[in-house]
Symmetry: C2
Amino acid sequence: MISQPTKANVLLVGSGGVGTMAAYALETGGKAEVTAVLRSNYDVVTKQGFSIDSIKHGNGIEGWKPTRLCNKVPNVAEEGIKPFDFIVVTTKNVADVKPTVDEVIEPAVTPGHSVIVLVQNGLNIEKPVIAKFPSNAVLSGVSLIGATETAHGKIRHDDSDAVKVGPYTSPKVSQEDSEKAAKEFVDIYNACGKVDAQFDSNVPFTRWRKLIYNSSFNSVATILRMDTTRMRISEHVIDTLIRPAMLEIKATAKAAGIELPEDIAEVMIRIDPKDTFFKPSMCQDIEKGNYIEFENIVGEPMREAEKLGVATPVLRTIYGILKGLQWQTMEAKGLVVPKWHEGSLYG
Amino acid sequence: MISQPTKANVLLVGSGGVGTMAAYALETGGKAEVTAVLRSNYDVVTKQGFSIDSIKHGNGIEGWKPTRLCNKVPNVAEEGIKPFDFIVVTTKNVADVKPTVDEVIEPAVTPGHSVIVLVQNGLNIEKPVIAKFPSNAVLSGVSLIGATETAHGKIRHDDSDAVKVGPYTSPKVSQEDSEKAAKEFVDIYNACGKVDAQFDSNVPFTRWRKLIYNSSFNSVATILRMDTTRMRISEHVIDTLIRPAMLEIKATAKAAGIELPEDIAEVMIRIDPKDTFFKPSMCQDIEKGNYIEFENIVGEPMREAEKLGVATPVLRTIYGILKGLQWQTMEAKGLVVPKWHEGSLYG
């Protein structure tokens, strides 16, 4: 009898398009067992499994399920279950709305053991997680994937699956251990042979590079409800908003010690396929009435710039508008009430 | 037999809420005969007249019509009609969409005779009009009125009717003649005894003062689709967008020689009644799918600032966004097509 290597015990939080395809890659690679936390799609997937059309794994995948499904984040200590080796978070990261990511995953984290992988947008998303779990390795995952949940449990994966994974710095975890954890995650993710996971030796560079796109296209798309193809055809949206925002991010990155390529703005302006009329993620979120993760995508770079003495007038105004949009979503969801309160400044 | 003084022959272009109430004040004062140009409401008003509820003139006014109705701007020369003494324009002023105001009124203007009264928002709206009709007095009308056409021919006039009228400077018209024309208009407008028309001896001051409100509240309301009460309750919309935009206008006005009161921003922030949840005009326009007059409300002050060396980072970004919104309206109305064209910059 040949001994089987133990599979990594993975918790996946956030089973939309990105999360489900991550679970699929991890499970089919054979080096991981995935417990997926589902919310709105729990009932459907429990009964029927996922239905997947994937550019990487094939079309017509019906009734697929990861090893375990649950409808809330398990409490490892209380439930006496096996500690998770990796906790992969693919939810939106909405810093200004409770519960925050660190609060969501808390019951599942085994201190000193679970590696936390944040496959999410934005800057400084690791800070509250590292603050709460200083003895756990925390990894940055920057995903380039086109995957959408078109209906509960139905996933359309129509563009690539590349993810860069590298270590953040945690106070009580050695750089060596963090890197080892990142490389192990890359290994179990790549095991299926159909995706492209890479070890990221320069997380800040990767994060700032992606911010070039997100702070500009993703933000402006959200404000205008406009796809990136139309922005490019209009030209003035690029000239008056997109490029200036990109250059502010580039200047801020430089002040933070990250030298992005000289032509990064011109490259990013043309990075979406020309004729897809693609609406970036926050635009899709706001059109669905969901919260937007603007605090990490615009707020944090803006605050970094402020600390570093870099002027970001375009980002500041974009931030103010996005915050106004978020306020309206909060009102729609009952989090704020449009009434004058005691001490109202502008009554 | 007592001789009757001749009534002023007035053409009114733009019979929405503001225009109809102007026509009503002018006609009922007895010193003017009004020919009103109607578009969408022409058929209804021809048959039934206007139906008006007015805070100044009384409720339940039914079947009222000005002296003459027409469904396009009359061609005075071709039709051999009596020259108009005043041409009052109360349409929106959408500078980036044809036909522009000067083109619309052209057939009705008798050179050297007709006084053109622009009761419209924004800066530099007189420039193309004066360029085309250099021998006609052109007047600035800044209106403070709450009047809405709630259905074709139905007017709800629920807040004040104050208008400030003063002369612009025309190359071939003496200052004296322009002032005389403005005072005459004030006189015929006030004749009904129910409204408050005033001669405006400082048109630039009045225009820049109103821009403080329009460039900020009107613009941001359009972007966020948000009323001014909610903006004030949220506080951050005021702090990050409204006040900074106001202060940019104040600084630009100052550089242009117009000293607005020191506390103008704080006054304007609180100028709307607290509990009306009022959506300014451009916000109403965009919600109806109409063009917005952002070029005169934001674009022109921004370009003035540029000439004068005043930094307007907030207005610049707001301008870029409003232009993106206008592009989408243009697309909806077939004026632009979202296709790559020869020489596309960002293809």
